[in-house]
């Protein structure tokens, strides 16, 4: 029975993710429509001859209706053919494949740090509402949300890399040959990235627990004479687990975006530096490739979270 329910849930979530993925891929494709002027000229480069422009137009199928273009574009993408970079002539898929692990390492570490710092802070604040500790946590959270992560990164570099020499200033070690070196390189970027994440997590955890605590059934448990610790660990935490899942999903999306700027500070060649260079150099296929990869990852993570909801909260059904 339980297995059947899970299977149905997973199927349902997959069905939900499908349309989002279709619309998302169409948006990435349709981005090209924002390019001012003739796309074929933009793709051919500034000094291309008229014959070359027409050649490009046929090559990219720009003379066909937009939905037909989208169809063949999507088909190519699905086969892992993301076209080639206009700047380096390297296949876009290859450069993404090389850079994605680096970005995911930084984001993964930052996720861990945000949750490990944010959740305890939020819980502590909510357990002592309107006390000094609550005030300090709330102030920290406001500060963290307004703090530009890349600026924090610079300060971290100046203190921990330049003055104290504890961490490397910039760059990244090869993950395949030197995994610990790679983690070592990723710590400062992850901390810079995690500051705003931890602040957001602390804030959300605090308000979630406060809301639960003001509920009728928590008061009932207290009236019934249960010890506070048991109320908190058994009933409080269980009830905010769904909120924490939502927060984790949003956090991943946020950190994946934030890493773009952080990578620039630490001169890490990940997805961020790839898309920034592409945006500066009008390298349209690379921009599309990076955005497509990121949105697919986010949709996949959301899918997992959607399924975990049902695991944590038996009230959620497919109806």
């Amino acid at each position: 029975m339980r297995a059947k329910r899970m299977a149905r849930l997973i199927g349902y979530s997959l069905l939900q993710a499908g349309p989002v993925l279709v619309v998302a891929t169409f948006m990435v494709f349709a981005l090209m429509q924002l390019v001012p002027g003739d796309v074929a000229i933009a793709l051919a480069g500034e000094n291309a001859t008229r014959a070359r422009v027409e050649e490009i137009r046929i090559l990219y199928g720009l003379d066909r209706p937009i939905l037909a273009q989208y169809g063949s574009w999507l088909w190519k993408m699905a086969q892992g053919d993301m076209s080639v970079s206009m700047l380096s002539a390297e296949p876009v898929f290859d450069s993404i494949q090389r850079r994605l692990p680096v970005t995911l390492l930084v984001v993964g570490l930052a996720m861990l740090a945000s949750l490990a710092v944010g959740i305890p802070l939020g819980l502590t604040a909510a357990m002592h509402p309107r006390r000094l500790v609550d005030f300090v946590v709330t102030a920290f959270a406001s500060l963290g949300i307004a703090l530009p992560g890349f600026w924090l990164g610079m300060i971290l570099v100046s203190i921990f890399a330049m003055s104290l020499n504890w961490f490397p200033v910039s760059g990244m070690a090869k993950m395949a040959t030197d995994p610990w070196g790679a983690v070592w390189h990723a710590i400062l970027p992850a901390v810079a990235l995690a500051a705003s994440g931890a602040a957001e997590v602390a804030r959300q955890t605090r308000s979630a627990l406060l809301e639960i605590q003001s509920s009728q059934y928590m008061r009932t448990l207290l009236a019934k004479g249960l010890p506070q610790s048991q109320i908190f660990w058994k009933h409080g935490l269980k009830n905010i687990s769904v909120t924490l899942l939502t927060v984790t999903g949003l956090l991943f999306n946020r950190l994946l975006g934030g890493t773009v700027v952080i990578e620039a500070v630490f001169a890490i060649s990940g997805m961020g530096s790839l898309v920034v260079t592409a945006a500066t150099g009008k390298d349209y296929p690379v921009i599309q490739g990076v955005m497509l990869t990121m949105v697919v990852i986010v949709v996949a993570v959301n899918l997992v979270i959607e399924i975990l909801y049902a695991v944590f909260d038996p009230r959620i059904t497919t109806r």
């Binding site: 998302a24 530009p148 600026w151 610079m154 999306n253 946020r254 975006g257 500066t280 955005m291």
Partner: protein, 281 residues
């Protein structure tokens, strides 16, 4: 665990203090931005090769940058640029989000389904990556990049307005107006919109803080404010290259961004409390 009748003590006082401080700072910043030409002691773009990377002194309040430009003047001139960029992004976000949300919420059916799907999808993209992608397509520069940020923020507004419109559509006063023969556009503009606008104002303020950080990030990446214009993010990017020789270069613009974003956020949070009808006495 739950304390009944919590005294509205130090917390409320501190919140009010924060509100007044932020409001004061933002008014000050606005005046600074308007009066930048008269306040800045030097030209923000004039290079002086003999005064490169000077420490702060009487002539140069915050020292000079790697091209001998006065950091304080650049900081002052950065204020109007930052405010222009962030406000532009929020205006674009509201300009797109408000009508979309109203239409989706009011019409319902397949129109609502289509718009809502679009909103969900746009929110699946990491915001800054989408903004960079749109900027790359439009071409880099401050106006383009902030229009891109506005487009990226618009689903947040649209989703909020849609929810508010759904509530408003069912309200008794809207039914009454409909009975008096009010047209759909009149219903939306005169009856639903005014009742939906308060949370939008709060959200727009909070988005302003995010737009500010996005502006700084995009300028830092070289996609926003272009040299020799003195954007705060761009100043950080330049200062970062010379951090080992002149570490103080990165403090002033960073603190400016932090304090401004903090103030706008505090203002938004306070507006949320002030405008919340449940808390009104």
């Amino acid at each position: 665990m739950s304390r009944f009748q919590a005294i509205p003590g130090i917390h409320v006082c501190l919140r009010r203090l924060g509100f007044h401080l932020s409001l004061g700072y933002l008014v000050f910043l606005l005046l600074l931005a308007i009066c930048a030409p008269w306040i800045a002691p030097h030209s923000p773009t004039l290079q002086n090769p003999s005064h490169v990377l000077l420490p702060a002194d009487g002539t140069y309040l915050l020292g000079t940058d790697d091209l001998g430009r006065d950091v304080f003047s650049r900081l002052v001139w950065g204020a109007p640029l930052t405010l222009y960029g962030s406000l532009l992004a929020v205006l674009v976000a509201c300009g797109i989000g408000l009508p979309l949300g109203l239409i989706a919420g009011f019409s319902g059916g397949w129109i609502d389904a289509a718009i809502s799907r679009g909103i969900d999808t746009m929110l699946s993209f990491p915001a800054i990556v989408l903004a960079i992608g749109v900027t790359g397509m439009l071409g880099i520069g401050q106006t383009n990049s902030m229009i891109a940020v506005g487009i990226v923020f618009s689903p947040t507004i649209a989703r909020l307005v849609r929810g508010q419109t759904l509530i408003g559509r069912e309200a008794l006063y809207v039914d009454a107006a409909r009975c008096f023969g009010a047209s759909n556009s009149r219903l939306i503009l005169r009856h639903i919109l005014p009742n939906a606008i308060q949370p939008v104002i709060v959200q727009a303020t909070l988005l302003l803080a995010m737009a500010l950080l996005a502006e700084a990030s995009l300028s830092f990446l070289g996609l926003g404010v272009q040299p020799p214009q003195p954007g705060w993010g761009a100043m950080l990017a330049r200062g970062y290259h010379y951090m080992e020789i002149a570490p103080s270069q990165i403090y002033a613009p960073g603190i400016a961004i932090l304090v401004t974003a903090l103030s706008v956020n505090t203002l938004g949070e306070n507006l949320r409390v002030i405008l919340d009808p449940r808390r009104r006495r």
